[in-house]
């Protein structure tokens, strides 16, 4: 196959409101589309769920990183003061754990916060500066006041004709085919 033959990425419908795209997304799932994605200028409540996306491991990653951070902070202080550089100050306990709580806490927050941000980006596949969806006409309005629903070509039920008909039926203002 010649690499110059453009492959279709999907069919994209343009909508003018959050309500309209939410309805369209629900109908797409009901119609049996499994590879559909909506693009919106702000998070629309329930939209990801309408497209059968419920859970992401961001919170779990954050929790684990927080635990790791706390353990790191505490272990560092403990190791320094009990093992590596033990120093007897008037017979006071070396394992003076209350004094290490602030650092334990700070490292918990630091690890967890960095992981929350990074895991969000990594799971989203970002940074990725180019994506076929950007070729959609008027897609620049997806960060302003337009809402787009893309039925992707990798969907088993996908044909350009049925997807176009489906999106037109949902009341899309414009429907276009987008190349890979």
């Amino acid at each position: 196959m010649s690499k110059h033959v453009p492959k279709i990425y999907g069919v994209v419908g343009e909508f003018s409101s959050a309500e309209a795209i939410l309805e369209a997304a629900k109908h797409a799932t009901e119609a049996g589309y499994t590879h559909a994605e909506a693009y919106t200028p702000f998070p629309v409540e329930g939209l990801a769920e309408a497209l059968n996306f419920y859970r992401s491991p961001v919170a779990l990653c954050t929790l684990l990183a927080g635990i790791l951070g706390g353990a790191t902070g505490f272990f560092m202080c403990w190791y320094a003061n009990v093992i590596s550089y033990a120093w007897d100050v008037g017979g006071r306990p070396r394992n003076s754990w209350p004094a290490w709580i602030p650092i334990t806490f700070e490292l918990t927050v630091l690890f967890a916060a960095l992981t929350a941000a990074i895991s969000m980006l990594v799971l989203n596949g970002l940074p990725r500066l180019h994506h076929p969806i950007f070729e959609t006409p008027h897609f620049t309005d997806a960060s302003r006041d337009r809402f787009f629903l893309c039925i992707e070509a990798k969907d088993p039920k996908f044909t350009p004709e049925t997807a176009t008909t489906f999106l037109t039926h949902q009341g899309a203002l414009a429907v276009s085919e987008v190349m890979e």
Partner: protein, 485 residues
Amino acid sequence: MTTHLVPVFPDEDRRDPVINPHFTYGTSTDKITGVVHQPVSAAWLFGFGISFLGLMLFNFAVTWLLVWGVGVWGIDIPVGWGLAITNFVWWIGIGHAGTFISAFLLLLRQEWRTSINRFAEAMTLFAVACAGMFPLLHLGRPWLFYFVFPYPNTMDLWPQFRSPLIWDVFAVSTYFTVSLVFWYVGLIPDLATLRDQKNRSLLSRKVYGFLALGWRGASRHWHRYHKAYLLLAGLAAPLVVSVHSVVGMDFSGGIVPGWHSTIFPPYFVAGAIYSGFAMVVALAVPMRAIYGLHGMITNKHLDNCAKLMLVTGLIVCYGYYTETFQGWYSGSPYEIGMMHDRWFGPYWPAWWLIIFCNCVVPQFFWSYRVRRSPWLLFVLANFIQLGMWLERFVIVCQSLHHDYLPSKWAMYYPTIWDWATLAGTIGLFFTLFFLFCRYLPVIAVAEIRELVHKKASAEGTAAAVRRTGMAPPWNDPQREVNAHE
């Protein structure tokens, strides 16, 4: 036009909106992004020029300090901390309101947070950057600052993990990092908005596009984004309380009369939020006047900020009361002597000015009309800034100048280099802030669009849309025309 174009908000919102009800997704976006890359105005140039001169003064003062050492400052024994630590505590306190707004108010679902969180977070970052400079410069040999970090070294030494000063290193650096990450994550969708605007130059679209990391607003992305943003807010919220608590422990960990008290952490946190909101008001009032953002930063925002200043101001006053009471109740001649010196000693003007600025001035905020008068609020907020700076000055310098040994008592006079460094960080702060106003959206655009949507659909127009199949009124071209009129 049809009847359902009449706005549409619940009664309270209509009387006292958090956002002008005429805004649509498009117009609100254009309004905010219109500020970015606006042709340079005389006001901006003037403000930036003054601030930049301040920054140059800072460079000069720091160079002088590095050449001659900390002796150019007025510090000596007994007052070894001087203006450097005063400024550190003051600046880092200012930052707290930004985190309070972005984290606490998000978790509490306060809608009025949306218009002010972005620039308040920027304020936090710049204030912490200014704050962080002082302890480093105060080290005497700032080029050895990395000794405070636990790194493998040939001396086989560790930092003193039991010391509040080392806790401070961790607290402040974590605070800065988390604030930066929070701010940047919030910026990503807005950078994508700037990238997508056709009226910008190719270069600026490329730069914004690069910084937006290829954000495309996919629903799955928003889902994870929303989760991460809430988690960041949940993680930043305890930082609001912890950072200034640790700064407070720097003092209460010392045995100096006037420092050695358990009141410090909560009292410092309240003071931090107090001065931070004063800074938010001091920035918001001129900014919305210059850029015409009255539709988004409404009087309701100022009103709420003033109420928070009133609450935190009363807590701070209670802190003064408790400090004084405990000084007397301790029965210790040193504590009583220190408190007597604070009220009637050589630094008495500072103390009574604090009482005026921090305890008397906020009483004006009981008045509805004061809370709704932007420029009066601006003036009062600056009094509070002054009061909070003086409070830190008195805690740091007056306590130290009058400790246990009468033979050690001595006066502390800041030198011109102390003042130049303080003025210089103010210049640095405003230089960064003016650049921020020019190159980044000062209000969170995507969040404003979400607010517009929430406000409009609160009316239940969604049902009407589904019934009639018409475009909802907040996205109707006719209403955009009305909004421009």
